[in-house]
Subunit: 135 residues, 2 copies
DNA sequence: CTTAAATTAGAAACAGTTCTAAGATGGCGG
DNA sequence: CCGCCATCTTAGAACTGTTTCTAATTTAAG
């Protein structure tokens, strides 16, 4: 996809969701859409400051909350303490690296055994091992 | 199982693991063994204080670390921030209640699709829905 | 232009966990 | 049964990392 086209998509997403478009918000959403690394606030803030020197943490939090409310991204927590954000809205599982803690998406597959167990609304498989980079 | 017999089991576990037996440690392990509620430190501390008025949080932490090291319990974190402790050492999955946050064990079942995906060492299914109590 | 809404820096709140120094105690050897 | 001493417990302060708040300033968009 051309870069300009991707940018257009992001703008449309903002417009459609009724969220005001600011450079900071654009950057955050773009980062989440182009990198599947499930960034934490800390990571996004650091990345943002490489371009936008002097961004406030509060802005990152505000932006993420706005994007979650608009349904453009999802928040989740895994093991640790810091919330992580995911722009992949498709159903999927997660792979967590034992060594570096990186989180990768794993394409969805059904787990028939999971459905049977009572009042299950959703489920997810957490896979653990060493990621390709750490090996 | 008779209560006395259960108590004997716990004492044997301490002895075998070379962990000194104290009333606080006994209580914590007993609590984890008899209730499958995956208590947090906060919960254990509250429960402990109902009997042992004036127990220190540090003791709960020390005890849990000692029990983990001895291999008598396992630590894990789910969503939130606080660590949870589990005396069920068998492999199993977890069911989390959307409403009250309770965590229940779910008997193990294999997920063949999970094994295939790369360098997976372990995996676990997290099921979500409403627990029987909340319905 | 106007104005409601967003951004900023930094302080403050918050939760979970660890640390400290003083006092208590389990379990062994005698 | 007794005393010793390494180990454990205690209370509360301190620490760590995450998130929210504040009040002043800037900015997007009609």
């Amino acid at each position: 996809m051309l870069k300009a086209a991707a940018a257009r998509k992001i703008e449309e997403a903002f417009e459609h969701a009724g969220v005001r478009r600011t450079p900071q918000r654009f950057f955050v959403l773009e980062h989440l859409l182009t990198r599947p690394d499930h960034a934490t606030v800390e990571e996004l803030w650091t990345a943002l400051n490489k371009r936008h020197a002097r961004a406030s943490r509060a802005t990152v939090y505000n932006t993420l909350h706005a994007l979650v409310q608009a349904g453009l991204i999802r928040e989740f927590t895994l093991d640790g303490k810091a919330a992580r954000y995911d722009a992949n809205l498709e159903q999927h599982h997660h792979f967590v690296c034992d060594r570096c803690g990186a989180v990768e998406d794993v394409e969805w597959f059904d787990v028939p055994a999971a459905q049977g167990a009572g009042n299950v609304r959703t489920y997810e498989v957490i896979l653990r091992g060493e990621c390709s980079r750490c090996r």
